[in-house]
Symmetry: C2
Subunit: 127 residues, 2 copies
Amino acid sequence: MLRKTKQRSIIMDILRETRNHPTAEEIYLKARLYMPKISLSTVYRTLRSLVEEGKILEIKVFGENHARYDYPLEQHQHFYCRKCKELIDLYGDFYYPNNIPHKVEEIRTIFIGVCKDCLKEENDEKV
Amino acid sequence: MLRKTKQRSIIMDILRETRNHPTAEEIYLKARLYMPKISLSTVYRTLRSLVEEGKILEIKVFGENHARYDYPLEQHQHFYCRKCKELIDLYGDFYYPNNIPHKVEEIRTIFIGVCKDCLKEENDEKV
DNA sequence: ATGGTTGCAAATGATTTGCAGAAGC
DNA sequence: GCTTCTGCAAATCATTTGCAACCAT
């Protein structure tokens, strides 16, 4: 049976507030502001159990060696900017082929490229 | 300037032949059959440079802690079976929204669920 | 000959685990 | 009171790196 602890609720709160896909380390640093003695392993353990419960999403980006965590408010996909390393939420309709011969339970799409802000910077530099 | 070495071509050959997305460790074990003294770090170094050159793809699946490598013959997406942990290629047309305000260079979709073989097994068990 | 490449061992970085004490139920 | 959860430190796992020898150009 899962127990309600202070550290678990702090971590959930941080995930709910933080809209930019934090890493375990980042969550740990924020959590310490509320509870200075919280340990990194508790953060990892809690994140893992939240993922297993299906309450949050674990996202791994190629090239990055750490996982990021996402508290999803509604169905969305992600855009990863290879310049600023930002992981941006994308909402909208996605159409996938329906002739897949397997039982599809979840679809994750990640778009990779350069985000509009970095693109703007690139163009400004050229002037 | 990139040099043509025995280890690099062995690794490329293995990737070309192996159609099931091997890990670095698996590639290393196969490579040793051709070249017993090849080192794991050479395998990692070579894979990294191939990824950087864009010749192969690095794929990270949530839950798995190691990367897999894919030598893509043609544009395709992946299906990951959470039962047998197989990563299966999917060919076909995918439609994505075209109103994304960023510069999209690459799209990666991964479908997660239970593959048709595992599904069959599940059903057989129920009988 | 020169400089990229390798093998080895040691280092790193992210994440996990063993254990004894603390805290939920 | 029993059991899960935590903090700490040590362990693990995948991957990277320093370095001297090696080999392709």
